[in-house]
């Protein structure tokens, strides 16, 4: 199986991935891109609903050509993005045989990662003390929303609720208004990034000590770590940072200005006095820009609304890309506020071959974000499209655990493994 893979930095590292949704899968996607053998393990009640109608598919927009197909769970592009380079098996962990198989896999693996609520793994009898007794080298990363201890440990959470709780959302918002949620559940991938670093740190330590360890990650704390300069700044200055839209306390003009076309915007950031002078040249030194009140940063900040209005008048009928190029040529930070289409067709990202294309047996050709970790000697690679549900039962249960074809059939008969989602009973 691994012979078809190029040599990655994590070659030979085996990961049992019990994680779901985004934070955990984002982490294991990186590990897989870097060469680890990631075995995604799911209970079939958690895979998703049994039926997806064409109407629902159209609303979600995440099935190729809005067509859910006969096996929609294999065509969902969200799963297929997160699942690239990974292997997949199903295992019902609320059964004795399911748990026994998982424990046998733990014996021959390096990492276990899960983001269940903290009561689940102990209840299933597969928490860290149990698994480390089976394999003391195992690195076990647990990443529930609020961490596995404390008064809110059982809180049900998502990236969307952790965003405001952690203080992150307080750093986004229109001037004077309430905190604004990320439109993108940002705390999910951000937490996945911390988990990735923590796991690699534990691998590095294990190379020296021969011992695994337990990583307890609280997604809620990720958001607070990523605003640590603001919480410390509050303590030093006594000022709670206000919401200022796209404004900036040391730059002006600084904002997203309308440009030619529907819902097209150009972000412009003018910092130093030299940049302001260059900016005036680019916009052909109109009379308003010569106004004494705007000649200093302090003046421009004081008359921010007026400055913004003038800049918007200049950008309104211009192509956002043309504005970006002319300002960047003059040494001024500016960028098109790109939508999904423009992002995927961005000339710079494509020049760097950022996007990866996969030919999935059930979803066809799909383009996904590549791997930002670029290593000169042991590069991240895309070597396998996302697995279909249960695709790797023969390799994982047969080759790795030595089960016979009859034994695997028997597991399917007993509904311990399978190839279609199960309806949730609750």
């Amino acid at each position: 199986m691994s012979s078809s893979k190029p040599k990655g930095p994590l070659d030979g590292v085996r990961v049992l991935d019990l994680s779901r949704v985004w934070a955990g899968p984002h982490c294991t996607r990186i590990l897989a891109d870097l060469g680890a053998e990631v075995i995604h393990i799911s209970g079939r009640r958690l895979v998703g609903r049994r039926e997806v109608t064409r109407e629902t598919a159209k609303v979600l927009g995440t099935y190729p050509d809005n067509e859910p197909g006969e096996r929609h769970w294999n065509r969902n592009v969200l799963n297929n993005d997160m699942g690239r380079n990974k292997l997949d098996i199903t295992l019902e962990l609320d059964t004795e045989r399911g748990v026994e198989l998982l424990k046998r896999l733990v014996k021959i693996s390096d990492i276990v990662i899960e983001n269940y609520s903290p009561r689940v793994m102990p209840k299933l009898g597969i928490d860290y003390p149990v698994l480390s007794a089976i394999n003391p080298k195992i690195i076990f990363c647990s990443m529930p929303g609020y961490g596995p201890e404390g008064p809110f440990q059982h809180f049900v959470s998502y990236g969307t609720t952790i965003d405001p709780h952690s203080g992150l959302a307080s750093r986004m918002g229109y001037p004077g208004e309430e905190p604004h949620m990320s439109g993108n559940a940002y705390p999910d991938p951000a937490s996945g990034m911390f988990a990735t670093g923590a796991i690699m740190t534990a691998l590095f330590a294990r190379n020296r000590t021969g011992k695994g360890q337990f990583i307890s990650l609280a997604q809620a704390e990720s958001g607070a770590a990523l605003t640590g300069e603001a919480s410390l700044g509050y303590q030093l200055s006594g000022v709670v940072p206000p919401r200022i839209g796209n404004g900036h306390v040391r730059k002006s003009p600084h904002g997203a200005y309308p440009s030619k076309g529907e819902d097209k915007w150009i972000a412009i950031s003018v910092g130093s006095d030299a940049q302001w002078s260059n900016f005036r040249d680019v916009i052909d030194n109109p009379d308003w820009a010569a106004d004494e009140r705007f000649s200093t940063l302090e003046g421009r900040l004081e008359h921010q609304a007026e400055v913004d209005r003038h800049v918007a008048e200049w950008t309104r009928d211009k192509d956002a890309y043309a504005v970006m190029r002319s300002l960047q040529t003059a040494g001024i930070a500016a960028g098109v506020v790109v939508n999904a289409d423009e992002l995927m067709n961005d000339e710079h990202l494509n020049e760097r071959d950022f996007f990866w294309k996969f030919d999935h047996p059930e979803a066809g050709f799909q383009t996904h974000a590549g791997q930002p970790i670029r290593l000169s000697e042991t590069p991240a690679r895309h070597y396998r499209p996302a697995p279909t549900l249960g695709q790797h039962h023969p390799y994982v249960l047969g080759e790795l655990l030595g089960l016979s074809a009859e034994e695997i059939d028997d597991l399917e008969e007993a509904e311990i493994i399978g190839y279609v989602p199960l309806v949730r009973e609750r």
Binding site: Y174, D188, T201, I215, A218, A220, S237, T367, T378
Partner: protein, 412 residues
């Protein structure tokens, strides 16, 4: 004092890291390595130092290079060395330090290291085991390579900004440094991957991290909706678009002075039914406009108007606990100052009390994870040039006379 010095301890204790960072991306990456015991040498320009020293916020609003919150937070646990890398002597000293180092982190504009004769090819010939990480706005190649950017411009060009905000107003960036932080986390993992490869292969390598790519890889619905069906994800205001109520709602103000805001994260039908039961509004499920979270997202205005009276009768404290007791996702809406008093963060010991001789004692955000066998160490940020003599004497054997000469020449 919660800070305990453990020299020689920690998962990365054997590593020496040269941290040529300024502002956020490189600095946070170096800070993480220092937290696990690496000897991280922060190299700053003599007299001036890292630009983060001029950003603040500062105590009493008074600018002081030793009390900028941005610098203090991002450089915990580092040793301070001043070195004029643009001078021949400074570059030569750096090359000597590279010979003894494991990792070098820098986040200059892409042409800068080469202009100082310190590009990877040169440093690799001095020390083939060196892992060098460069973090830049757009990476080391491509047409935008030399473009300038800040947080907002990175949010814009990575596709993150377009989906934040109201559909009928301008898109929103966030204030702060999220793109740089994410790039720092990719750089940290890239360095660790390179060190693991070095354990196996014996040689170092070059790590190229683009801030734009870091943020462009953190989409789920945006890019996937487009590749699957050509759907362009739009801004949806202070809610999650496809399911409702995943949003921030106004509620009764608390007696503790907290504003009346609460976060809901209801996305699956089971939670939705429980939520309606709790509000005694189960009959809404029979109305096709509110039959499930997806339909509710389409008709969110009418829905919010219907549930608003209940929210105005209860405080955030009451609502969060009532909902969570029923396994319905809800959370507080906190300012960064509120999180300092949050009981969950307190319980896990997230805030670390750190003393700094100029800035005094502060409670610093820790790391969001605990490693059972390799607990992180939290120590204060370095003063500008604090360890210059110690490092040059200890590592390169420079005597007092030589140091004085370098100081006189403005090299250190």
């Amino acid at each position: 004092m919660a800070t305990v010095s453990k020299p020689g301890n920690g998962a990365l204790a054997e590593l020496t890291v040269l941290d040529l960072s300024h502002y956020v991306a490189g600095a946070y990456c170096g800070k993480l390595m220092a937290a696990f015991g690496a000897e991280v040498i922060k190299i700053e320009a003599p007299g001036v130092g890292d630009g983060a020293r001029r950003v603040g916020p500062f105590p009493d609003g008074t600018t002081d290079p030793e009390t900028s919150a941005l610098y203090l937070y991002l450089n915990t646990g580092k040793k301070g060395l001043t070195l004029d890398l643009a001078s021949d002597d400074g570059a030569a000293i750096l090359q000597k330090l590279v010979a003894q180092a494991d990792v070098l982190i820098e986040n200059f504009a892409p042409s800068v290291m080469k202009s100082m004769g310190l590009d990877y090819a040169t440093l690799n010939s001095i020390n083939p085991r060196l892992v060098m990480a460069s973090i830049s706005n757009f990476g080391q190649s491509g047409p935008y390579r030399d473009y300038r950017a800040d947080t907002m411009v990175e949010m814009a060009l990575s596709g993150q900004m377009y989906v934040n905000g109201d559909p009928d107003r301008e898109p929103l960036s966030s204030t702060g440094y999220q793109p740089s932080y994410q790039a720092a986390l990719y750089a940290y993992s890239g360095i660790m991957a390179a060190l693991l490869a070095r354990d196996r292969d014996g040689t170092g390598q070059y790590v190229d991290i683009s801030i734009q790519e870091a943020m462009a890889s953190e989409h789920q619905f945006t890019l996937n909706g487009f590749t699957a069906s050509g759907k362009i994800r739009m801004r949806s205001g202070n809610r999650y678009g496809s399911v409702h109520p995943t949003t921030i709602l106004t509620c009764k103000a608390g007696e503790d002075g907290k504003p009346g805001l609460v976060s809901l994260g209801i996305s699956d039908p089971t939670q939705y039914v429980l939520f309606l039961q709790l509000l005694d509004m189960s009959k809404l499920i029979d109305d096709p406009r509110f039959a499930n979270p997806q339909m509710c997202a389409v008709n969110y205005r009418e829905f919010d108007a219907l549930i608003s009276p209940w929210f105005m009768e209860h405080t955030a404290e009451e609502i969060v606990h009532a909902l969570q007791d029923n396994r319905i996702p809800a959370a507080f809406v906190n300012e960064v100052s509120d999180v300092l008093d949050d009981p969950q963060y307190e319980f896990r010991g997230f805030w670390k009390e750190i003393y700094h001789p100029v800035a005094g004692t502060g409670r610093y955000a820790g790391l969001p994870y605990h490693l059972s066998e390799a607990p992180p160490v939290y120590e204060r940020a370095n003063l500008l040039g604090e360890h210059t003599d110690e490092i040059l004497a200890g590592k390169l054997g420079y005597d007092g006379e030589r140091l004085a000469k370098l100081r006189e020449g403005g090299v250190i």
